[in-house]
């Protein structure tokens, strides 16, 4: 852990020190990725729902699906991804020094991160909010009852800042205990080292699912923050930004247009809907602006699916899902009361 941290720190410093000032930005990320033959996609330590490992060591999850979506758009093959599992405090460093092409790992979009780290947020693939989880036998029913409580939290996150804000605003005098490693954090909470653990609610649901006795834990009703999570790219390459952003939009648009991995092949040949034709490359030249092949969106939908399929499989009630209801939440489509919205494919 220490070695990794020092390496990362050393890497960013030497990277910045030796990179030729002008050449560093000359080659586009798309060219570099194409030449390499696979996408370097940064995820976090395994966390059910978003990015997790199956027993064969393959990554799956909703943020992993974003990596696959981008690979499908570029290579026509969603498996051409090298997953980089980086600890939370190292995530931006690994992006800034060029280690990863894209970061897709429950990272909250904030003004500071978007403007001061040399990074750009592309779009949102999951709307989340911060909450608290407690033991059922603690008798706590609301986060406002946490006055004087000890709360476990991950270091270097917006969660940590929100906790301090919430504690100050409500005069709760909460004592945070911070952890770099989420497993140690969860273990500390599980063993009673904290009265509560705080994280994005989806993250809490996934932590709860990992406990051997999930029925003894409950997530408090309050949501204390906005946590728009989405993929991040390095600043200064707007073509690459577009590719990542529109790959995610393709997932959402596919759901809206009724496309899914099962029907996309037959719909492509039979449809009369002009937008579907443009999106799937039957008509028009939308792909040219992105620098991708004609089939980029078709490859995404046929190999990864649409947003609903991804959500159901990993976040919802699917076999590997963590059971977060989508209907009525912010993650529903815009025309079903949610915030998931894709600009038109035109």
């Amino acid at each position: 852990m220490k070695a990794m941290k020092l390496l990362a720190a050393a890497a960013v410093m030497t990277g910045m020190a030796f990179a030729g000032a002008s050449t560093a930005l000359a080659e586009s990320t798309l060219d570099i990725v194409k030449k390499r033959g696979h996408l370097r996609c940064q995820v976090g330590q395994p966390s059910p729902g978003f990015y997790n490992l199956d027993k064969d060591g393959n990554w799956y999850g909703s943020d992993v699906a974003v990596c696959q979506t981008i690979a499908a758009a570029i290579f026509g093959d969603s498996s051409k991804v090298e997953y980089q599992s980086v600890s939370t405090p190292q995530r931006f460093t690994a992006m800034a020094n060029g280690e990863s092409d894209v970061l897709s790992r429950t990272t909250t979009w904030t003004l500071l991160r978007d403007t001061q780290l040399g990074l750009d947020f592309t779009t949102v693939n999951f709307y989340d909010g911060q909450g608290f989880m407690v033991r059922v036998d603690s008798g706590i029913k609301s986060s406002l009852e946490l006055a004087g409580a000890t709360v476990c939290v991950a270091t270097g996150t917006t969660t940590e800042l929100n906790l301090a804000d919430y504690s100050r605003a409500n005069n709760l005098d909460i004592e945070p205990v911070t952890f770099e490693d989420k497993n140690v954090r969860n273990e500390t909470f599980y063993k009673g080292g904290c009265d509560a653990v705080t994280n994005d609610k989806s993250g809490l649901a996934s932590t709860k699912a990992e406990f051997p006795d999930p029925e003894n834990f409950m997530i408090l009703p309050e949501t204390i923050s906005k946590e728009p999570l989405g993929p991040v790219v390095r600043q200064g390459d707007s073509n690459w930004n577009d590719i990542v952003m529109w790959s995610v939009f393709a997932l959402v648009a596919a759901e809206e247009l009724g496309l899914n991995s099962g029907n996309v092949e037959s719909v492509r040949s039979s449809t009369t809907n002009a937008e579907i034709k443009r999106m799937l490359g039957v008509e028009g030249n939308l792909h040219e602006g992105l620098g991708l092949s004609k089939d980029w969106a078709y490859d995404i939908v046929s190999q990864v699916g649409n947003y609903a399929e991804v959500y159901e499989a990993y976040m919802g009630g699917g076999e590997r899902g963590i059971g977060i209801t989508r209907a009525g939440s912010q993650n529903a489509l815009w025309n079903q009361g949610g915030l998931m919205y894709s600009p038109p494919f035109r």
């Binding site: 852990m1 220490k2 941290k5 720190a9 960013v12 410093m13 910045m16 020190a17 030796f18 990179a19 030729g20 000032a21 560093a24 930005l25 939370t88 405090p89 931006f92 460093t93 800034a96 500071l112 991160r113 403007t115 001061q116 780290l117 040399g118 946490l146 006055a147 004087g148 409580a149 000890t150 270091t155 270097g156 996150t157 940590e160 800042l161 906790l163 301090a164 804000d165 504690s167 100050r168 909460i174 004592e175 945070p176 205990v177 911070t178 952890f179 770099e180 490693d181 140690v184 954090r185 273990e187 500390t188 063993k191 009673g192 080292g193 009265d195 390095r234 600043q235 200064g236």
Partner: protein, 394 residues
């Protein structure tokens, strides 16, 4: 002859002094140019990526909280104050761990040389087990052990059954003093006791040197240290109040507290490094020739006195140089606390602050500056001590 090397104009090239200066100047300017290049190029690259640079961030509000601080700190304070909090937390745990390491190390090192087979083997097993497993693993092991065995706050373990020290899975609690009028008299009592003990010890030494009579200075000294301040305390009308931690809501409130991560780190660092220390002590003692022990015993000293007055002082010459590096390692390895969430400089400043502010290079540099200065200070202090214990050659 166009290139006459004997030409007196070039003779200075063969001048030894000139060449020495020339090569030093060349090396220096190369290093300087290298540093200048790295510095400007880094700056240029960071500007090209729109990353912020400079040390202004030290005056920006940090916005996060921490559960353990020796000076006042709250979420609205600046990154500069976070740096200070982190430094003090590191120094506290490192200083205590160094004391622990040294005491346990000397103890185990001497036990390893015991003529009792069982004692020597137990000490050897202690050293081997601790030296041959990674420190990070040991820290996490101690932490999970502590978490598993410590009670919840409502069932706090009443340490020493005094109703003032408590141990639970949120930390170790103790009373904090609050001073009222009359404190000066009490402090004066303490000062008088200290002076009295110093005088007593000097006198005892003089008596021993001139007559050979050994005075019971330790029991007398202890009596003075206890009785004089106690008398002053009651004459002054009990000026020091104690704020005792009591259960309020979720946790104990009042008094002082150190978190479980602090206790863990202290134990893990002291125990781990004591194994290395023990080996240094053993090597030091073995470096003193056997004749010294025999001579000491033959003039009538018992084994304990021989060790204390003859062997250890000579062994220190061999022990101190390695002790320097053990102490520095304790300070540096305290950075592993990041795994269990103790707010020392690596966790609080290099991890949390770096992530929340994004000033990577500045923060890494400040952290290195801290570790560097602490190591150099330890090295300087112990080197002075080392000079003091080395053989004085006449």
């Amino acid at each position: 002859m166009p290139f006459c090397l004997d030409n007196s104009m070039f003779n200075f090239i063969y001048n030894e002094k000139f060449r020495a200066v020339l090569f030093q100047a060349l090396t220096f300017s190369l290093v300087a140019v290298g540093i200048f290049y790295l510095f400007t190029n880094t700056n240029e690259n960071m500007n090209a990526r729109d990353m912020k640079t400079g040390f202004d961030f030290l005056w920006i509000t940090a916005g996060f909280d921490t559960d353990f601080h020796l000076i006042d700190y709250e979420a609205g304070d600046t990154y500069g104050r976070v740096y200070l909090v982190a430094i003090l937390n590191t120094l506290l745990v490192a200083a205590l761990a160094i004391v622990g390491t040294t005491i346990i190390g000397f103890f185990v090192g001497i036990l390893r040389l015991s003529s009792n087979w069982l004692v020597a083997k137990v000490a050897a097993a202690y050293v081997e087990i601790l030296r041959n497993t990674p420190l990070l693993l040991q820290i996490i092991y101690w932490y999970l052990l502590l978490l598993a065995f410590l009670p919840r706050p409502k069932q706090s373990f009443d340490f020493l059954y005094l109703d003032v020290f408590f141990l639970n899975n949120r930390g170790f609690y103790g009373p904090s003093p609050s001073f009222e009028s009359g404190t000066t008299l009490f402090l004066a009592g303490i000062a008088i006791a200290i002076v009295a003990v110093v005088v007593l010890f000097r006198h005892a030494r003089k008596v021993q040197d001139s007559t050979g009579r050994v005075m019971p200075k330790y029991s007398w000294g202890l009596a003075i240290v206890v009785v004089v301040p106690a008398v002053a305390y009651f004459i002054a009308g009990q000026p020091v109040g104690w704020e005792v931690p009591i259960l309020k809501g979720f946790n104990l409130r009042g008094g002082w507290r150190v978190p479980p991560a602090f206790i863990t780190l202290l134990i893990a660092l002291a125990v781990y490094h004591s194994a290395y220390m023990a080996e240094s002590v053993r090597a030091g003692i073995l470096s003193v020739s056997k004749g010294q022990t025999e001579a000491a015993l033959s003039i009538g000293l018992d084994r304990g006195l021989a060790l204390r007055l003859v062997i250890i002082p000579q062994a220190m010459r061999a022990i101190v140089p390695t002790m320097i590096s053990h102490w520095m390692n304790v300070v540096k390895n305290s950075s592993l606390a990041v795994a269990i969430g103790y707010s020392e400089i690596t966790a609080l400043f290099m991890q949390t602050s770096l992530n929340q502010s994004g000033y990577a290079i500045e923060i890494v540099a400040l952290t290195m500056l801290f570790y560097g200065s602490v190591s150099l200070t330890i090295s300087a202090v112990l080197n002075i001590y080392n000079k003091h214990v080395q053989l004085v050659e006449r």
